[in-house]
Structures are given as structure tokens and as C-alpha cells.
Symmetry: D2
Subunit: 364 residues, 4 copies
Amino acid sequence: MTPIRLGMVGGGAGAFIGAVHRIAARLDGQFQLVAGALSSDPDRARASADELGIRSYDDFTQMALAEAARADGIQAVSIVTPNHMHAAPAAAFLRAGIHVICDKPLAATPAQAAEIAGAVSEGRARFFLTHNYAAMPMVREARALVQDGALGQIRLVQAEYLQGWLSDDTHSKQAEWRTDPARAGAGALGDIGTHAWQLAAFVTGMTPSHISADLSSMVPGRPIDDDARVALRYATGAKGGIWASQVAVGQENGLSLRVFGTRAALDWRLEASEKLVLSPKDGPAQILTRAQDRSASFRTPPGHPEGYLEGFANIYKDVAAIIRGDSSHAVRVPGLADGLSGMAFIAACKASAKQDSAWVEVAA
Amino acid sequence: MTPIRLGMVGGGAGAFIGAVHRIAARLDGQFQLVAGALSSDPDRARASADELGIRSYDDFTQMALAEAARADGIQAVSIVTPNHMHAAPAAAFLRAGIHVICDKPLAATPAQAAEIAGAVSEGRARFFLTHNYAAMPMVREARALVQDGALGQIRLVQAEYLQGWLSDDTHSKQAEWRTDPARAGAGALGDIGTHAWQLAAFVTGMTPSHISADLSSMVPGRPIDDDARVALRYATGAKGGIWASQVAVGQENGLSLRVFGTRAALDWRLEASEKLVLSPKDGPAQILTRAQDRSASFRTPPGHPEGYLEGFANIYKDVAAIIRGDSSHAVRVPGLADGLSGMAFIAACKASAKQDSAWVEVAA
Amino acid sequence: MTPIRLGMVGGGAGAFIGAVHRIAARLDGQFQLVAGALSSDPDRARASADELGIRSYDDFTQMALAEAARADGIQAVSIVTPNHMHAAPAAAFLRAGIHVICDKPLAATPAQAAEIAGAVSEGRARFFLTHNYAAMPMVREARALVQDGALGQIRLVQAEYLQGWLSDDTHSKQAEWRTDPARAGAGALGDIGTHAWQLAAFVTGMTPSHISADLSSMVPGRPIDDDARVALRYATGAKGGIWASQVAVGQENGLSLRVFGTRAALDWRLEASEKLVLSPKDGPAQILTRAQDRSASFRTPPGHPEGYLEGFANIYKDVAAIIRGDSSHAVRVPGLADGLSGMAFIAACKASAKQDSAWVEVAA
Amino acid sequence: MTPIRLGMVGGGAGAFIGAVHRIAARLDGQFQLVAGALSSDPDRARASADELGIRSYDDFTQMALAEAARADGIQAVSIVTPNHMHAAPAAAFLRAGIHVICDKPLAATPAQAAEIAGAVSEGRARFFLTHNYAAMPMVREARALVQDGALGQIRLVQAEYLQGWLSDDTHSKQAEWRTDPARAGAGALGDIGTHAWQLAAFVTGMTPSHISADLSSMVPGRPIDDDARVALRYATGAKGGIWASQVAVGQENGLSLRVFGTRAALDWRLEASEKLVLSPKDGPAQILTRAQDRSASFRTPPGHPEGYLEGFANIYKDVAAIIRGDSSHAVRVPGLADGLSGMAFIAACKASAKQDSAWVEVAA
């Protein structure tokens, strides 16, 4: 099958998430990267493009127009810039009829989010958001179990995303923009809290109606949240919590989700991502593996560990299928609605924090 | 060494915690149970006492007086009645000069707690509260590590106590009084939340100044909380959370504590109680075992698992030493202050819940 | 119920296993230690007995006669001496009509084992051997699962007992006699290998017909095996292995058993002794806990970890029941047959090792 | 950088390992698959090639000649046929000056292995063998720790590779040739035992001098081994074991390695492949992660799980570097020596098994 022609905005040399998108895009052979505006610094953009052997643009607006005009132009673009630089390129490519695969969170501000929503609503191209964890096989199986009613009525939801890498006032390239309110919009809340929020919603099929948040900047002088504790209330009466922290010393990438229903509970942890523990109300807990996964979101037999990159690649694989006209799995690929929900989560948390953790309604 | 003569109030046939106290008392050979008012039902009291081969009393008041008058009377008494029946016997024995080892929480109401505090203040005998988890070796080592500064400044504290046994409207003897507001005072909050509260305070050496609570009765018709989510703020700027639930399906007795400081983090879980994971800010996590425990709170070499009963017995062992005049380890045995702190925790949570989770100061 | 009067041979101050037996005996309140010949050094014997408040004897022969003659003499005796000193006291007490609870392995030599067997065959008293691990709840459940056919036909059996404490030429009291061929008879093979051998047989209900052994003395100059690798063949065609080592650095007390059948597999590990993983041929693995245990070999609800001492106490509890005339659980208490099987295992391993690991038949 | 042009022999539609090689080859963007003789059935070969968009050959001999003659011909070829079909294509491509990346084990017979060795010795191209597990980051770190002396002198080595998928007489395509002596050469021994053998040698830097093997065909009627227990003796005095089984019900892909030295021990398990437990003789065990890995064999930060495919890709990445002239990491890529060692292991096991597990020297 001919690979889909892909472009990229951001992701120049030294970028973390750009490299991840590139691997994810090529892992299943469904995409070929052919063009990029890889950096806002034109020299760096060109050097990075040369290294990758792709067409280089100084500017994403120019790129959108030029690629749309080429017969062999890109069919989709990956946007892997800092949060505040998602909206402008996303809108430009969408309006040029080029599908957008955008890194999360959706944007740094509600206004930027609205800009993307507006462009999506014009209907010229599709928009996808890489909430990659929701594409891992056992997470998809968790969702299927909830949908099947295996958990009964859900009562308790607890999602955590704990990292320790920002426990100091470090100044790496990765750390710098993530702790800058103007570029990131939110700190731990946006960078990893939205992952936890989306993961919980993806698996449970429910979104909290109200939240109460306590946001902290644990590192002295940090102008953005680095620890967020959020209590959740669902319209169904279920309760829950999200805890996102980047000062949790010793935690590398501690994402986890626990869901308790009237009939059974689920426990999934990224550090053992190929296992899903299902604990029925009565009887022993079961360790589900890919042998039980019905989503077929993998490439190798159970016991051959797949992980973060393969999860990311699952999104690209599904996007490729959608672009090729097969929408059978479209429902499982995160998109604009997930992005807007994440922005609503961030906004509600900030509002609650300003009111000393008062319960705040989450915009639908 | 001659065993210390012990009495018991409550703990008749079929009682769970009474049997635990008896095993804990005799495990190290330091106590001999000789008398009891084992039930409020005189026939049952007598039958239970006969079974144990001890003196029986119909009434704890009479027992306190009679035992205090005997040359070979009891030196200490274990109180293992439901929460609302702690205060009266505790006060009676304390005033009779007999040391009291009381189950937690301290009482069902603040008035009852005050009654105990009053009797303790008269100084005729000592009062101990069986927050048994704080007596387990790796918990004691956790506290020692914090005291040594191994964690640096503490930023985050998360304690959980999750059980699933009350996820239905069951009617066992154990469940019955625990879900009755009059006898229990509080539900999950009192029965297990106070354990989590005390455990966090014991290890960190800090008590939150303010809390925000969301209390639920997940089982329809239940007149008491069965799920409690509590956010914590410490005067130092540290944040934390306590989550106590008795509707967490599949959880048998899921007590855990995580503490994150500026230099390192600790993770302890009851289900693997002989391990303590210490994660330094830099460098690999370490799995501490009793080989590293400095409290010497065990009987067998590392690798020979000790557990719940041995932890309980550690309290009895320390109490025996104190009664015998060796106060070197007195500081690690929970007592009145822990009990009052637990009552303040419950009161603050109830107050916060009534104000829709407003932050409430915890009485010192 | 009146406790059974118990004596002890060996187990003076500083002894490890003597203290364990004493705790196990009193944990369930079924025994009262009243007499002892606690050391071959009369002064030490007396001092230890005084410390425990029991009758002291200089000599176990004298003790057997004297106690048998007393109206309030001991009904059972625990023998906790080094291996070469099991036979003489065991025979003396058995012949005096006093039940014997003997530590493992049965003896240091086949002749000593025969001496015990002879005394048992006279039928005056019962003989029990403290293969304590076989008394832990999940091990008993493992056996029940095999008996129920849950595993189908057993194909593979792997038992390991790995310790690291003898990886050096240390000279502790515990290490000293265990590395002396005269007193121990065998090294890792006898001290821990016999546990693994008995555990495998207890759970599977099968004993290998042939073994092939490679014995090593890894520590230079050590006159006894400290590492034993044994291949197993069963008459049914099943295969297996036992690996016992005391030079496995970093291992505290690593006992484990894995059994694979045609229908399912079992995995039990002492370090997580309250779990038993049952892996069906098809479908997810299940984590069994005491909630699934049908042996009722515990005192507290699932999730309240019991361990080594409670397992040991389960033997004493069953012995008490047998002495009191209730033989309903007699089949699960190890005794002479287990001891003789262990001796046959040691003998076969030594014979195989002498013939460069040739397959050797294990005496029935 | 321009991708290296790659060919493939075997790996037509439905093949497991062919698909894995293709993903591994493209994951880091270093290779582009351009030609193949994907099946011995010409129609299937062509259909598979069309699907992949590559040049198709009916015959690998013809392919080797044709590609060598093209200016844009392949620079390397992946051989992913059944074991008995490695030698002929390997020799053809090597002699055509095309580098060979061959799946393991080296061959089905010693004669075939010799044929490959002969072609390699002619020196026209390089030969690599995909013992992929040795390319996983924590395995490489394990080897580095041994080389650094962190373990002291190695005493005990235990490698296991347990699978359950052949516990029945199943007839899948994968199962069929693997249980056919003519095509596979050996069963569990060759398919997974050689992985365990190579892994142990890779990490420890030592190869056993003698082995004693017990081979079984547990499934009735199976003409090849499906369970292999092998005892190991090293010239240094170290001892060890390899256990490879494909009838270990419930095991998906249970590869593990434990190494015990005089100073520390290592424990690595594929199911938690991103962790390496280092247990010093004294002091707590440490959980090493990629944060401690010095091989830089990964693409994402620690905590973002990489697994089987990324390990496989590490080999391709190193091969690409070697082909491009950077031999700095050549030492860590398995090749002919590993393959011949694996063949010697198989031969010694078969010889030992024929002599009822006699100790047999392993050909150097």
C-alpha cells in the first residue's frame, strides 16, 4: 500500500515529541514524512529537514499553501510545537484541506482552542489529537469491559499521572516552555493532567460534571502549577480524583487508572502497560493481557512487550485507515472533542483554584 | 519474665478484633489474659470467658473495681468494643489505676473522646491506642528515614485505605455496627480513614492544618459514609490526600502510603508490608526490607514474612516494656494524642462535607 | 480450653528456631511451655528456662522420664536441636509416650533417621515434622487445586529455595553447625532443599522416582554443599527441578514453587505468600488469596497479611487438634513419612553427585 | 541520512517474524525495504511483494545475483525463513557481497551452520544474527555491570524461557515447522533455548564448558523436544541452568535471567523488561531503569515503555551504523560466533540426552 504523505510542524533536532511522532508514523509503514517546517528558526528548520531528507519550509503558512498546491503534496500534517503554537498551524492546514494530527493539549488558551474548533467546523479536513495512552491495547480493552457492563455501575474513578523530572528548577529545553505560562497555558495540569482526564473519560465513557482543584507550585519561584489535585463529581453520583504532579520525585512516568464499579474494578498502570487487572466483586482478580484484548491494537503475540511508541503508532495506524476511508475504528481515535474537554478541565481547575477549591461546573 | 496480667472488655465469641488482640497479647509471651467482661450479654460473656479459661464479669465497672482490689488483679485491660463503648470502660479502668489498651478510633463522639481524655489526665494509668499499622517494621523504618532527613522537605503525602467488603448492603455482625452512626460515629472515615490519617502523621511527623472532604454513601440507603476523599494542606506548604473507601470492590485491605520530598520518596503498601521502596531524586529506587529496619520490630530474619498480627503484637510488646518501666520506645506507641487527632480529623471532615468541601481547619 | 503442656529440647537463649517454635506454640493459645532441656550446657539451659519461667532439665533423657512420671507432665515436646541431635531425644520422648514435634530435616544420618522410625513404629506417641511452609494457607489451597484436578495432568514441577546468607565464610552460631557435616549431615540440601522437596511433594501429591544432582561448595574451603541443583523425573513422565542455594547473594529466603499441568499452572512464592497465581491454559491468570483458600488456615480476613509464624502456628494448631482426638486434618500435618522422604532425597543426591550427576533412584 | 536498501528472504503474508523484521528495520528510519523473495511459492511471493511495494523475486539465488548487479541493489538482506532454509540464502547473499541479517537459530543442522561459516569466512560481507533480547537496554546494562565487576566473581547463572503455546498438539503455521525435526532441527531447544543460551553468555561474558540435558516431548506423538532442562558447568567453577519449555501452560513469553556473583546479583525478566534488579551482597536491592542504562539503546525517556520491537530495532540500528562504517558498537551485535555457539549448545544437549543426561563438553 502506498504510504500517506506526511508533513510536520515543529520537531526539529533535539525535540522529544517530534521524534516520537516520526517513529509512530513510520512504525507500521503507513506514512512517509516528506515535508516540514521543523523550527521557527529557518536555519535550524533547514538543517533538520536535510537530516531527514525532506522538503523544508521556513513557515507553516507557506507550507500549507504550497503543499496543498502540489500534486504530490502532503495529505496529513503532524503538529508538534509547544501548546501555544498549535492553533495557527492547525487552522492553516485544516483550511488547506490537509488532515491534522496534533499533539496535546489542544492549545494554551481557550481562544486558541476556539480557533482550532472553528477551522475544524469548516469540514475541509479531519483533526486528530494524540492522546496516545488511550490507544494502548489494554486501555482499549478496559474501555470495552466498561462498555460491556463488566464493572456494573461505576462508583469510583482515580487517575494519576506522576512525574519527578520537574522537582527542581531545571532549565532543559523540554522544561523551559512547559513551565512558561504563555507558551504552555498550564503546567502539570496541561502537560499530563489532560492525559489523565482523557484516559479516565475514554475508559469510563463518562466526564465529571464538577471538579474541585488544589493547584500548587511546589518549586519556589515557578510561575505555573507543578502539582494538581482534583476531586471529581459525576452526574451519576460517581466520585473520583485526578492527581497530576511533576514534582513526584522518583516517578518516571507514573500514569495509572483505577475504576471501581458495583460489579468489578479495573487497575491499569503504564509501567506494566501490557497488564490489566480486573477484580470482580467476588472471586479472584484476573490479570488480563493482550491475549484477552479485543481491539487487536498490536503487532506481536502477547508476551512480546509493546509500549509507548506502539501505542502512539496505533493512533497513526487508525488515522491512516480513516484517511483511506475506513472509519470502522474512528470512534477510538481522540480528536477535537477530547481536546475541548481537556481545555474545559484546565479552565475549571483554574477557576476552582481561584475560589479556594470550590466545586466548579465543567463546561460541556 | 512473669507475664503481665491482662483483662479484656468486649471480644466475645465471634468477635474479630477481640481475637486479634488476644493473639497479639500472647504472641511474645508478655501478657496473660486472666479476666474479661467479654460481652454485654452476660450469658455470652460467661460462655466466652469459660472457653478462654478466664474470670468473667457481667459488667466492666464491676470488673474494674474488683480487679483493682485483687492482689493478682489485672495490670492492663484491652478494650475491643464498638466505638461508642470505648469511653465508659476506658475511664473506669484508668480511674482504677489499670492501664488501658484501646482499639481505634478513640470514640464515636467528641464527648466520649473528652471523657477518655479527662480520665487520662488524672494520671493514674497509661492509655494506648492500637493503630497497629504504625507498629509494622517498615513503617517504623519509614518514619526513621523521614526523621533522618532522607526525604528532604516533604511536599506530597498520599494515604489510601481501600476495602471492598461493604460494597453491598450486607448485614454481617462486623458490618452492622460499623454502618450505624450511633455506634460507629463515622463510617469508612472512622474505621479505616483514621488509620490512614495516623499512619501519615506517624511517618511524616506532620499533621495537616486544613482539610477539604467529600464524603459519600455509595450504597443506597446507607446512613453513614462509605467513601471519603480528603484533600490535605500542611502549614509547611505540603499538600496531600487521604482516600478511604469500603466500596472499592476487589480491594481486601488496601492500605498504602506515599510520601514525596525534595530529596527522595517513600512508598509502602500493606499488601507487601515487608518492603519499603525508597526512591532517591537521582539514582535507582531501593527496595528496603527488614534487613534495613532499625526498629528491630520483628522476631524472625528478613524473608520470613511477618504481617498484621506481628505488627499488632509489636504494640503489645512495647506496652509491656512501658508497663515494666522501660520507656525507651514509648514514643512509638500510639496513645491519646493520636486518638484525639483522629477525632479532630473526623470532625473536620464532617464539617467540610457540610460546607460542600470547604477547607476547614483541623483542631490542634 | 486447657492448653496442652509442652516441653522443649534445644532452643536456649539466642537460638533462632527455638524461639520460632515457642511463638508458634502459643500463638493460638493451644500450648503452654512448661519444661525444657534447652541447652547441652547445663548453666545455659537453666538460665534460659528461668527466663521463660519453666522447669529445667540438664538432660533430655532424664526429662523424658521425669515428665512422663508427673501427673502434670508434658504431653508433647518440641525438638529444636541441630540435625544430628534429633534422633536421640525424639526416641526417648516417643518411648516415654510423649508426642514429638521435631524440626526438619529428620536427622543428620540415615541411621539416626532409622532410630526415629523405630521409635515411632512402637506406637506410643505421635511424631510431627515442622515443614512449616506446607502449612501456609495458599500452599494448602495449591494442594487442594491439584487434588481437584484443576491442573490436569502435571508435567513440570520447579521448586527453588534461594538464600544468600552463607555466601561468605561467616561464623555465626546459626552458620556454624549448618556447615559442619557431622552435625548437619547435608548443607543447603538438608537445611532448605528438603523444604523444597517436601513442598513440591505436598502440593503435587507426587514424589520423583529418579533424580540427578550437581552439588557445589561455592565458598572456598567449605566442607559441605552450599548449592544444589537437582533434576527430577517422575514415574508419570513429569519432569522437574529443585534448586537450593545458600550463596544466592541478595536472596533473603526465596522459596518458590511452580507447577505446570495440561490444564493450568500454579505459581507460589514465599515473598508474596498470601497470593497464589493460577494460570489456566486458556484465559487470564487469577490471583488467588485467602478469600479463595478452603483450608481455613488463618486467623484474620484476607488482606491482613499472615506469614511465616502463622504458618508455623498452623502446624501446632493441627497438632493440638490431633492430640485432642480430632484427626480430621491429620493428613495435612507433615510427619515421619515426610522426614524419611527427605532423607531419601538427600541420600539420592549425594549418590548422584558421586557419580557425576548420574540418574539415581530415590528410595521409596 | 539516506536509508540503507534492504531485501528480505521469507516473510510473506501471514509470517510472524518477517513482519517483526520489517518493523524493526524501519523503526529508526535507517533501512528501506526494496526487494524480496518473500515465499517459496512464487504467486505468494509476488502478492506479498506487491502489497509491500517492493521488487519481487521467485528465487533467492536469482535475487542475490540480480541485486548485486544493480547500481541501486540492496545493501543488506534479512533472512526470515524456517531454520533449515537459512544457510543457502545466507551463503548466496554473502558471496554476492550483500550483508546478511539472519534470524536465529543459525541453522537446522551442523552442516548448514558450516555452510554459513564458510561463506562468512570469505569476507565479502558481514553476518548478523537477531538475538534480539540481547539488544534490550537493561540487558545491555546488565552486561556492562558484569564487565565493570559489579557482581564480583560469578557463581550461579539461571536462564529460563517458558512458553505455553505448544502445550497442545496444535497445527498453526507457526507451530507446524517448529515441531518438524527436518525444518527446525530442534524444538524448544532451538527456538527459545538458544535465546536463553545466548542471553546468558552475552550478559555474563562466559560460556559453559559442559552441559547435562534432559529433553522431553511432553505432548504425545510430538517428534521433537518441547521441554529442555539443561544443567551448566563453567570452567571457572560457576554452575547454572537453562530451562526452555513450550508446554509451560499460562506462560506467554517468559524469558528471564538471574546471575549471582560474590558481590551482587542481577535479575531481569522480559515481562518487566525495562527494569533490572541489582541486589548487592549487603544493602537493599536496587531497581535499575533506563535512567541508569549506559548503552543509550532507546528512543524515549525512562518510564515510556519500550519493548520487543524496539529491542529488535536496536539490532537493525547498530547494523546500520556498522554498514555505514561506524563499528563502535559492533561488539554488541550478535553474529556468527553466537550462532555457532547456539549450534554447539543444541548438539551438546542432544548428545547428553542420548547418554541419559551425561555431562558433555560444549564444542568451543
